[in-house]
Subunit: 230 residues, 4 copies
DNA sequence: CATGAATGAGCGTTCATTCAT
DNA sequence: TATGAATGAACGCTCATTCAT
C-alpha cells in the first residue's frame, strides 16, 4: 500500500506537496533539484528537439532518479509547462501593460513609449532565456502533442495580443489601417525567424543591429504605404 | 541498427520495378497505390505531425498491408522525400528562372517581372498542395530526424535562394542596401507565418487579398525607409 | 535506426547502476536476474542456435519483461559478449601464462609442464561451462553477425595463440618443425570436433579417456614423423 | 483457382514438373534458370552465411522473379537440399566404394589403395565445388534449422562413414586399435578446419603441401603411438 | 522520501510465402 | 507460365509510467 501524504490536493496524481516547512531546507533542496531538471531538459530540448528527448535522458544527464522526476513533475508535458510558465507570465504582463498604457496614452509619443516599453521588456525576457526562446520558436508550429501544448498556448497568446495591439495602434492612428491580422502575423513571423537564426548561431550578427531591426519591426511593422501597393 | 540484420550485405531492397508493360494495369495500379499512401500520409502528417504518425497508422488508413508499404518506399524518410520532391523541384526551378531572368533584365520593370513570375509560380505551387506546405511550415524548424531531412533541405534551399535574390535585387538597385540576410529572413518568416495561418484555416481570408499581400512582401520586401529608421 | 530514433543523440542508455547499497537486496536481485537471463539464453542458444533465438523467447522463458532485458543488457550482442567474457578472460590468461612459462622454461620437462598446465586450465574452463563451449563450437564458423562477434573474436584468439605456442614449441625443439599454421589448425579442429560430439552427448565417453586424448593432442599434436610422410 | 498440372506427384506443394517434353527447349531453360539460382545462392551463402541470405536477395541477384523461385524450389530448405545433393551422392559413392574395396582387399597395399582412391575422389569433389565445401564447413555445426538439415545430414553421413572406415581399417590392422570414434572425429575435425581456412583464403598455402597434409591425415590419421601416450 | 527495476504497448523494419494478373 | 505485389507475423529495440524497496 502506498503511503499518501495528507495533502490539500484532491488530485491523486499530482506531484506531492513539498514536505518540510516552506523555505526550509527540504523545500530549498526540492527547488534546486527541480531547477536542475528544468535546466538540463532545456539544454537537451535545444539540442535534440522536444520530441526526441526521453525522460531517461533528462534524468541521467541531471543525475537524478526517474522516480524523483515524477515527484517533481507529472510528466514531460508538465515539465514543459513549468519551463515556460515564467516566460508566459512575463509576456502576459508586458502585453497587459502595453494595452493599458496605450489605452490611456494621450499623444503619439505616449503610444510609442508604450510600444517601446513592451518591446524592451520582451527583448529582455528573450535575451535572459535564449534557449527557451529557441525551443519555443522551433516547436511552436509543431503538432499539438501533449508536451507541446504549453508552447502552442504561448504562441496563441502572442498572436492574439499582437493582433489586439495592432488594432489599438490602428485605432489610435499610429499605424495605417491595413488588415491587422495580416500585419501582426507578418511581424511576428519575421521576428521569430530572425531570432531563430540569430539564437541558433547561423548568424553572427551584431546584436545591436539585430535589436534595432527587431524593434523597428515591432514599432513600425509593415505600416509603409509601399506594402499595400500590390 | 538498427532491427536490422546485422549483416554486411548492402542490398538496398529498392522498390521493385513494375512487372507488366510500362503502361499496363499493374504499373498503373502500382502508381495508384503509391499515390494513395502519399495522400494518406499527407493527411495524417497534417493532423498529427510527422513524428507522431506511425507507419501502421498510414497503412491502416490506406487499407494496405505494412509489408506493402516497404515495397513502395524504403521507409518513412523515403516517403517524405518522395512527397516533397516535386515541390522542391518546382521551387528550384522557380528560383533558377528568377535568378537568370534578373541577371539578364535590363530595366527595373524587367526586374519586377522576374520577381512577379517567381512569386506567381511559387504561389501556384503552394496553393496546389496546401497540405504539403502546411506540413513543411510545421516541421521545418524541427530537429533533424532522418524523416525530416528532405524538409530541412527544402528550408535551406528557400533560405539560401531568397538571400541570393535579395542580394541581386540590391545590386540592381531594386532594393535599398539593407542587410540582405536580415531582410530575406524577415520576408520568409512573414510569408511562412501568413501561409501557415491561412492554410490552417485560422484565417478566413480572401485568397486574393492574401496573395496580394504575399506578392507585395516578396516584391517590395522590407525596402521602405521606415523599416530601418529605428 | 532500427527502430531506432533517428537522432543524433549518442546517449548510450547503459544498464543502470544498482540503487541500494552494493551488497544490498537490490544489488543481489539485479545480479540474480542478469544471471537468470544469461542462463536462460544459454539454454536456448544451445537448443536453437543464436540467431534463431528471439529476445522475446529469452524473456518469456525467464519470466521477465522485454523492457527489463534492455536494462540488463544493451542488446543481444551485449548479452553474448557478457556471456563469453569470462571464458575469454580465462583463455587469455591460460595462453599468457603458457607463453611466459614456455619462454622461461629451461628443460623439455618444464616445457611439457607449461603445456600441461595450460591444457588443464582450459579443460577445466570447458567442463565448467559445457553449454557455452557447445555454443562456441556451433557458432564459431558462422557469418559475422553483430551478436556473433564475441564468439568470432574468441575463435581468433584461440587460433592465434595456438599458432604462437606451436611456433614457440618448435623453436624450443619440443615439436618437429612442421608448418606451424597447419599443425595448430589441425589440433584445434580435432579438439573442437571431439568436444562438440562429447558435449552434445552423441558420445557417451568416459571423460577421463577423452581428457587424456585431448591433452595428448595438445601436448604432442601432430608431431609424429608419420604425419608428414605422405 | 490455380491451375494444377496433372502430375505424378501427390504432394500439392512440390514444384511443378517440367512443362514441355524432357530435353525440350522449355526443359532446358528450366534447368538453366534453376542452375543460375543455385549458383547465385551459393555465392551469397558463402559471403553472408545461409541464415542471413533472404530469398529476395537470391532472386534479385539472379535476375529471376520470386514467383519463379518457388516454381523451381519449395523454399530455401529445398534449394539447399538440391544444392548439396550431388556432393552428397559423390560422398556416398566414395564411401561405398571404399568400404567394399576395403572389405575385399587382401593385402595392406590394397587397403591403402582403397583409402587413396577415396581420398582422391573426395578431394576432387571438394576442389570442384570449393564454395559448397566452405558453406558446408561453416554451417555444419549450426542449429538444425529447416534449411540447414541437408547439411547436417551430410555431416552425419561423413561422420558415420569415417567411423566405419576407421573400424574396418583397425580390424584389418591398418590402424592401431585406438578408439575409432575419437580418431575418426579428430581426423574429420582437423581436415575440416584446414580446408576451412584454406578455402576462405586466410591461408595462402601451396595446395600441394596442403593436399599432402590432408591425405596423410586421412591415410594415417592419428595412428601414431605417441598419440595415445598421454 | 528517493531510487531505479519492471512493465508492455509501440515503433520501424524484414521476410517467407501466396496469388492475382 | 512468369511476374512481383500483397501479406502479416516476427524481430530488435524504446520509452513513459508505475511501484516495491
Amino acid at each position: 500500500m502506498s503511503r499518501k501524504k495528507g495533502s490539500t490536493s484532491s488530485h491523486p496524481r499530482l506531484p506531492r506537496q513539498r514536505p518540510g516547512p516552506l523555505g526550509g531546507k527540504r523545500d530549498e533542496n526540492r527547488k534546486l533539484k527541480q531547477q536542475l531538471l528544468l535546466t538540463t531538459a532545456t539544454g537537451l530540448f535545444k539540442k535534440n528537439g522536444m520530441e526526441a528527448v526521453a525522460i531517461d535522458e533528462i534524468v541521467d544527464s541531471a543525475g537524478i532518479s526517474k522516480g524523483s522526476f515524477y515527484s517533481y513533475f507529472e510528466g514531460k508535458a508538465d515539465l514543459v509547462n513549468v519551463l515556460f510558465s515564467p516566460l508566459r507570465l512575463q509576456f502576459e504582463d508586458a502585453f497587459q501593460k502595453a494595452k493599458s498604457q496605450m489605452n490611456q496614452a494621450q499623444g503619439e509619443l505616449a503610444l510609442f513609449d508604450a510600444y517601446q516599453n513592451m518591446a524592451t521588456a520582451m527583448a529582455q525576457s528573450c535575451l535572459a532565456e535564449p534557449d527557451l526562446i529557441l525551443i519555443y520558436i522551433a516547436e511552436s508550429r509543431g503538432a499539438p502533442t501533449g508536451a507541446r501544448q504549453p508552447i502552442l498556448e504561448l504562441s496563441d497568446l502572442i498572436t492574439q495580443n499582437a493582433l489586439e495591439l495592432t488594432e489599438i495602434a490602428q485605432k489610435r492612428g499610429l499605424l495605417r489601417p491595413f488588415d491587422a491580422r495580416i500585419s501582426s502575423l507578418a511581424v511576428i513571423g519575421a521576428i521569430e525567424r530572425l531570432l531563430f537564426e540569430y539564437l541558433r548561431g547561423t548568424f553572427e550578427y551584431h546584436p545591436i543591429e539585430l535589436t534595432a531591426a527587431l524593434i523597428s519591426l515591432v514599432l513600425e511593422g509593415l505600416q509603409s504605404e509601399d506594402f499595400v501597393t500590390s
